[in-house]
């Protein structure tokens, strides 16, 4: 069977939803003729026509605003941010309009806002950001960060079908580096469910996105030293799978929180609070965070390499925790 890349999986997911539900449409910059900067929407214009594959002006706020308007009328818009970094320009529409409609007046806003996030491709400070926390901190939104092709497809489909606004961050480093065989039948990955990527007894590494692979690589190395990491891939950040987190921590009693996003105010903080409140008695060591440092994402390869959490970081911290 053919292997499907992560980027192709996203495309398949949107494509299938557009085929099965005529309310679904895509809009964004260069999504039509060009098929998207990363080709996520390639071929859609030809297949679905210009009413459902809409090239817009460079107006992130209006892209999201228009998606909201269409969603209020019963459509299922999928809005692309050419890079996730540019979601900053749509921040107000997302956090104030989309996130609060249902609460205020019962009007659902089933939009998906998606875009490539993350570093590792030398994109520099404005093409490498991980903006998930700005939205995780906004009640009314959902936020997902798939790490596998299977999840990328299953979560985009779940996001499109979701009655609430979903922010979907795809990791551009994984686009063509990750591939797997996908089911031929229709499936979704439910929003809010984590997946254990590796069972382990000694330390839980709780992570998401591209860092799942960093954790798995470290686990493989540490296995040789007799340290067994459990790797929990959150997949969704809002809501997140608290049960799976607590369950893992209660079994391993030690925890590393790993993400590519910067440290202060990052998702690791939220996890630390939940764990130290609800699994306090199970902890046999300090909760350790491994994150990017508190800086913009630098461009030059040695700087970016320094910035990104690495396998060696996980190994070092795991050894320390193991010895604790």
């Amino acid at each position: 069977m053919a292997l499907t890349t992560y980027v192709e999986a996203i495309k398949q997911g949107i494509w299938e939803e557009m085929e099965s539900d005529e309310r679904v449409f895509v809009l964004g910059e260069d999504v039509g003729i060009y098929g998207g900067a990363f080709k996520v929407t390639a071929g859609m214009l030809e297949k679905f026509g210009e009413l459902r594959v809409i090239d817009t002006p460079i107006s992130e706020s209006a892209i999201v605003g228009a998606a909201i308007g269409a969603a209020l009328m019963g459509m299922r818009p999928v809005a692309e941010m050419q890079f996730a970094d540019f979601i900053s320009c749509a921040f107000d529409q997302i956090t104030n309009f989309a996130a609060k409609c249902r609460y205020r007046w019962g009007a659902g806003v089933p939009i998906v806002v998606r875009g490539p996030s993350g570093g590792g491709v030398h994109g520099g400070p404005f093409h490498s950001q991980n903006p998930e926390m700005y939205f995780v901190h906004t009640p009314g939104l959902k936020v997902v960060c798939p790490s596998t092709a299977y999840d990328a497809k299953g979560l985009i489909k779940a996001a499109i079908r979701d009655p609430d606004p979903v922010i979907y961050f795809e990791h551009k480093f994984l686009y063509r580096r990750i591939k797997e065989e996908l089911p031929t039948e229709d499936y979704i990955v439910p929003i809010g469910k984590a997946a254990i990527r590796r069972k382990g007894t000694d330390i839980s590494v709780i992570t998401y996105g591209a860092m799942v692979y960093t954790a798995l690589d470290a686990a493989k190395e540490l296995e040789k030293e007799g340290i067994e990491l459990e790797v929990l891939d959150l997949r969704s950040l809002l809501p997140f799978d608290k049960e799976a987190v607590l369950d893992s921590v209660k079994r391993t009693n030690k925890v590393i929180l790993l993400h590519e996003d910067t440290e202060i105010g990052g998702f690791a903080g939220e996890l630390a609070a939940v764990i130290s409140e609800e699994a306090f008695e199970y902890l046999d060591g300090p909760i350790r965070r491994i994150t990017a440092p508190n800086t913009p994402v630098p461009y030059s390869p040695p700087l970016e390499e320094f910035f990104l959490p690495k396998v060696a970081d996980v190994m070092r911290v795991a050894r320390e925790l193991n010895a604790y």
Binding site: F25, L51, R52, I54, T56, P57, S59, S61, A62, I63, V64, G65, A66, A67, I68, G69, A70, A71, L72, M73, G74, M75, P77, D92, Q93, N96, F97, K100, C101, R102, Y103, R104, W105, G106, A107, G108, P139, G140, K142, D162, P163, D164
Partner: protein, 339 residues
């Protein structure tokens, strides 16, 4: 006609060739009067009695704008009001009691107490709730129009905002997108010549909001916003354009805010001559005069409209005041779909 504000020219508009039917002309009076009296109670009575908390904004003197433009919308059309468009809610069918309950933060209000004053929405009436961030509704309206175009539906959307909101980036992005996509939207500006304390000339270096329309490739029209029939005429033209696939229009209604910005602002920064000038152009008095002159109503009949409106409001206040507040724990509900 020149207003006292040297920056504002209200072009003399010809009386529309076709007038609205009699019933519409009389309905206009009713809705303007209802707007005026309802907001009077809200701002000058209930708010001062402490029965409404938080901020209160009214559209005194601007009643003709929402009324004239919404009166002929169809049930399937959509309206995105802004914060001085009470008439839109009334015409679209939101009850006076629901509105009062909203202002008094009751469970029976349009947002069940979650939001305040003019932030009312109801999909049943195709009314989109305003968010405070001015101009945010402009791209949203474009998207609503896009959905009509995609589905080949014969519907239009009306979107309201003030002169001040036109300085927001979202206003620009939204109008531009609507123009590029040629969607059926009618954008309606209440140019009351102030944004809070800031006069027009500190907001923009052009004379008219409608001067901006050309920059987007859409038609702009300036009307006397204190003449409900002129507003109706412009809205009708724009709605027809929209329905016939010719895309969006920007209508600028010249008017004046006959109060402070909100209930706690005495508008001390507004030259009193301006109030006087515009008082003489009061949209309700003018429409009454028009109706009387045409023999469509008598002075007494007009007074009775006002009295009737007040009876309706009295009754609604009684109900709304006895309406329950939301349960505290309701706070936690409906952040997400609950099935």
């Amino acid at each position: 006609m020149k207003t006292l504000n040297p920056n504002v020219v209200v072009r003399e508009t010809a009386q529309p060739a076709v007038l609205p039917p009699e019933k519409t002309l009389l309905d206009m009076l009713y809705y303007m009067q209802m707007t005026r009296e309802l907001e009077f109670r809200i701002e000058r009575k209930l708010y001062r009695q402490g029965k409404i908390v938080g901020g209160v904004y009214v559209g005194r003197g601007q009643e003709a704008i929402a009324v004239g433009s919404c009166i002929d919308t169809l049930a399937a059309d959509v309206v995105c009001p802004s914060h001085r468009d009470m008439g839109a809610f009334l015409i679209r069918g939101m009850s006076v009691r629901t509105i009062l309950a909203q202002y008094m933060a009751r469970k029976t209000g349009a947002t069940r107490g979650r939001d305040g004053n003019m932030h009312m929405g109801d999909m049943k009436h195709n009314l989109i709730a305003f968010v405070s961030m001015l101009g945010d509704n402009v791209p949203v309206a474009a998207g609503i129009g896009m959905s009509f175009k995609m589905r080949h539906e014969d519907r239009v959307v009306l979107c309201f905002f003030g002169d001040g909101a036109t300085s927001r980036g979202d206003w620009h992005e939204g109008i531009n997108m609507a123009a590029v996509m040629k969607v059926p939207v009618v954008y309606i500006c209440n140019n009351n010549q102030y944004a809070y304390s800031t006069p027009l000339e500190r907001q923009m270096a052009v004379e008219n909001v409608a001067d901006r329309a050309e920059a987007y490739g859409l038609p702009g029209e300036i009307v006397d916003g204190n003449n409900v029939i002129d507003v109706w005429g412009a809205a009708t033209r724009a709605i027809n354009r929209a329905r016939s696939g010719q895309g969006p229009t920007l209508i600028e209604c010249k008017t004046f805010r006959m109060t402070g910005h909100s209930a706690h602002d005495d508008a001390g920064y507004v030259p009193s001559a301006l109030f006087q000038y515009w008082e003489e152009r009061d949209p309700i008095a003018r429409h009454e005069k028009f109706l009387i002159e045409r023999g469509l109503i008598t002075r007494e009949g007009a007074d009775e409209v006002k009295a009737g409106v007040n009876r309706e409001i009295d009754a609604a206040i009684q109900i709304a005041e006895n309406d329950p507040f939301p349960e505290p724990e309701d706070c936690l509900k409906d952040v997400y779909y609950e099935g």
